[in-house]
Amino acid sequence: MNNIKTFLVLILLVLLAGLPFLIKGIAPGWWELFSHILTKIFLNVAFGLCLWMMLQAGMLSLGQGAFIAISAYMTGILSVKYQLVTNLWLCYLIGALTASVVSLLLGLITVHLRRIFFLLVTWAFAEMLHPILTSFENPFGGAAGIVNIPPPSGISLFGEPGTGYYFITLLYAVVVTLIIWSVSLSKVGLIYKSIGQNDILTTFCGIHVRRYKLQVFALGCFLTGVGGGILASYLTAVSPETFTFFASLDIIMINLIGGMGFIMGPIIGAVILTGMNEILFAVGYYKMTVYGLMIILVIRFLPGGLISILAVLRTAFRRTGGNQKKGGEVERTVA
């Protein structure tokens, strides 16, 4: 089974890599739209997976949007505001490190307390960020933000910047997925999962829970930060309006709609949510109502997310299928 999966994944990657050339050949006018949506999807996949990993450990962060903002703003500050660093890749790295350090600070205060504190503090932090960004001209650029953020070097390797960002974000999403997937299959991932299930029992298994919680938070925020930096270049500008509570909410929705039981969940969720955003974008405030309603309905009727439908289908399929190993498939559910 694993070999089939790996094969399918490879096919998908090849397809995605070739997609620009395919579409440009068939219907060149459509490429811009496609690359725009797919770039957003790739970023959301990464952001969603980072939160997913934290959720495994029982840490619901309502502030992921803030960490994206920290890294994006850091990129803008370094490259434009103070013109300290010209290599954008370095900016992304520094931005990600900043986000990670901030997450460690927040984590040190909250992670050993009841879960609700983590929730509230990440939420409060995200809410605080908006007025901070708006109030200070230096270094945040106030309400106007920072504009003219340049693209990273190598952007035009495949033609126009749009395609460049497509490949950069694709690579980013693939790397993040690999890292998180790899962790989830290891003992470290098992530790995260067990912390999420029962952190007291985990402690009594000889695990220093606080350290692992800090670790997963810092790692998740670092990986998220890299994407935040890329996002800054992609949008060429950052402003307080880009990173409202809805940025954090989107990432939570990705996990909720897609499902948190399996690693495929947030990936599917990212595709759906980005698609929904594009459709509902024109619909303004209806978006909030629809989102809210969706959250309520999904939790009430499909708490495992869409992936749970697939899981049910998969077991049903397996039961009626022919070749069953004696004793059933030994499948360590992908975290």
């Binding site: 409060a124 605080m128 909720l256 109502t289 989102y291 959250i295 309520i296």
Partner: protein, 287 residues
């Protein structure tokens, strides 16, 4: 610093504190019985303000009657909220938070659609300025709000501390399983708790509607304050949230006047950080 300014800030602090107190105690009540933070709390604040607005502007009701209307309607909203949203997923902690976030967003979205983007205002029926001893000038509206808030909290205190319902609520909060064994109908008590908590939010909204402008996001500011307060005061402690409310009220008032409007925000947050480092149980909290 002139003593009159200090007095002025102190009085403002009292007023703010009493408003925060209404929000925070409702949130604390719900947290106490459900061990879930109601992220939708702010939205009920907003609905209270809106009800007051529409009742006075379109139904022509006097302001104080609209407050009674809130008192009459919101308990049912609270019960409905608990029944529809919370009850089915009571046992899953994550689902609870997310559901309340869903309610919040949905209702705020509806609010934007119906209310529009222009902020509206409601004026207090008696535009009178009072002059208090010490040279402090304060509008009657603020004094009324403060007094009514204190009155309401006193009633809440009475209910929680002295009535059978209150005892049952505390029993459920501390020992949910034992309470059930003792025959307490926890479903009913929880519903009552929600009725009370949501009504408090709605009343807060109704009262504040004459002091500040109304918009669909009116609720998020008070809600953030309420969260800060319940952490400071200790989760689940009504006394703690009362004390912390006034503490934050004074911080906001003094900080706002001395350092600028956003200062209160940050000071409150900073205070939470300090508290979490040294005494996470809150000022009055228990482990």
């Amino acid at each position: 610093m002139p003593s009159q300014l200090i007095m002025q800030m102190a009085v403002t602090g009292l007023v703010l504190g009493s408003i925060y107190m209404l929000m925070a105690s409702g949130l604390t009540l719900i947290y106490g019985i459900m061990h879930q933070v109601n992220m939708a709390h702010g939205v009920f604040f907003m609905l209270g303000a809106m009800l007051a607005y529409y009742a006075t502007k379109f139904a022509g009701l006097p302001y104080f009657v609209s407050l009674f209307l809130i008192l009459a309607v919101f308990p049912f909203i609270g019960i409905l909220f608990e029944r529809v949203i919370f009850r089915p997923i009571r046992h899953l902690w994550l689902a609870g938070y997310m559901s309340t976030i869903g309610v919040w967003i949905m209702i705020e979205g509806l609010g934007w659609q119906f209310f529009g983007t222009v902020e509206k205002g409601l004026s207090f029926p008696y535009e009178v300025l009072l002059r208090l001893p010490g040279g402090v000038i304060i509008p009657l509206s603020k004094v009324t709000v403060c007094l009514l808030a204190v009155l309401i909290i006193a009633v809440v205190y009475f209910v929680v501390g002295r009535t059978k319902l209150g005892r049952q609520m505390r029993a459920i909060e501390q020992q949910p399983k034992a309470a059930k064994l003792m025959g307490i109908n926890s479903d009913r008590v929880v519903a009552m708790g929600f009725a009370l908590g949501i009504t408090l939010a709605g009343m807060a909204g109704g009262l504040v509607s004459t002091l500040y402008s109304i918009s669909p996001t009116s609720g998020s500011g008070p809600m953030l304050k309420a969260f800060i307060i319940i952490i400071l005061g200790g989760l689940g402690s009504v006394t703690g949230s009362v004390v912390a409310s006034f503490l934050l009220g004074f911080i906001d008032s003094f900080g706002g006047t001395l350092f600028g409007p956003q200062a209160g925000h940050f000071l409150g947050f900073a205070l939470v950080i300090v508290l979490l480092i040294f005494k996470p149980a809150g000022i009055f909290g228990h482990e």
